[in-house]
Subunit: 185 residues, 2 copies
């Protein structure tokens, strides 16, 4: 299979950031794919049985685990961030999918994961982080703004600026971007 | 937006391989996403209006265009190969999505795209290429075998060896792998 466990870089939390007591952070691996996919309907408040697996195929856990994080506590999976550094755009890092278990929200955990991702991206020479979300996902939009991202788009969709047909017909998206690292001279 | 056009490596065809007369090969970019997504139902023989956009989001055209190919002729889009080099597994390259327009099939075009991908992967130090397909996709399975891939799996699904729930519940897949480059000493 394609699930050989590679040796992945250790995780260091950004200065001044800590995880909630009893929580640990590690790199995901392919075996984590099923448990992450399983929590999505509940964490996103979707009807039971909703399948969003096509948005988060196993390949992300096989090939981009070196830039991704998974947080666990005594209750199991607590949060995850799946991201990668762009191959075609050497200055860009991309955050693809992030989730935090509802009972541990509002504790700064997503912020800590983002800042850990930013710090690794800066260390690897990246200068910008991109992410997208759906026009109706107000929580995600608010979070990205609070993290210093700017939203871009071409038209108003559901009351927010979004890119029409960004991910295919009727798949409109709000695109977020944020500079990271030292200011450009 | 996230569509800054990066400078991408030039494409060289493997020795002994040529494109059909009048066909050219280039790297895709984000603007090609819509036209590739649009041909999928027809090229795959799916009902009109079938949407598989979640399998091929725009991010592949933004961030992995440097390892991907798009072939065009007088009729427009003729073929594409979307792949990348694994970030977490430095020996692995991955072919994610490949399509050839029905009227130019059986001319060796997919083989040429695969061999061009193999050659670039070897040049970048990769030793293995992975790909997956659905248990019912006999054409893809036959093609991968003819290209020297070995299929792996854990159970028989639709008459072929496949990995159960590989990409989520009921998302069984046949996994293919192939060594590339000089034999391991």
């Amino acid at each position: 299979m394609t699930d050989d466990a590679p040796t992945l870089p250790p995780i260091r939390l950004p200065e001044g950031r800590a995880l909630p007591a009893g929580m640990t952070l590690r790199r995901p691996d392919a075996e984590d794919h099923a448990s992450v996919v399983a929590v999505i309907p509940e964490w996103w408040g979707l009807p039971a049985g909703t399948r969003l697996t096509a948005l988060l195929p196993r390949l992300f856990f096989q090939h981009f685990s070196d830039r991704s994080f998974l947080a666990e506590d005594a209750s199991g999976l607590a949060a995850f961030l799946i991201g990668f550094h762009s191959s075609a755009q050497p200055e860009v890092a991309y955050i693809h999918f992030v989730g935090v278990r509802p009972d541990v929200r509002e504790a700064g955990l997503a912020r800590t994961l983002y800042e850990a991702f930013f710090a690794e991206a800066v260390a690897a020479g990246r200068r910008r982080v991109d992410a997208i979300t759906g026009p109706s996902n107000r929580r995600s939009q608010s979070f990205h703004r609070s993290m210093g991202f700017e939203a871009t788009g071409t038209a108003e969709v559901d009351g927010v600026l979004a890119w029409l047909d960004y991910d295919g017909p009727d798949e409109h998206r709000v695109a977020f971007t944020r500079r990271i690292g030292p200011p450009t001279p």
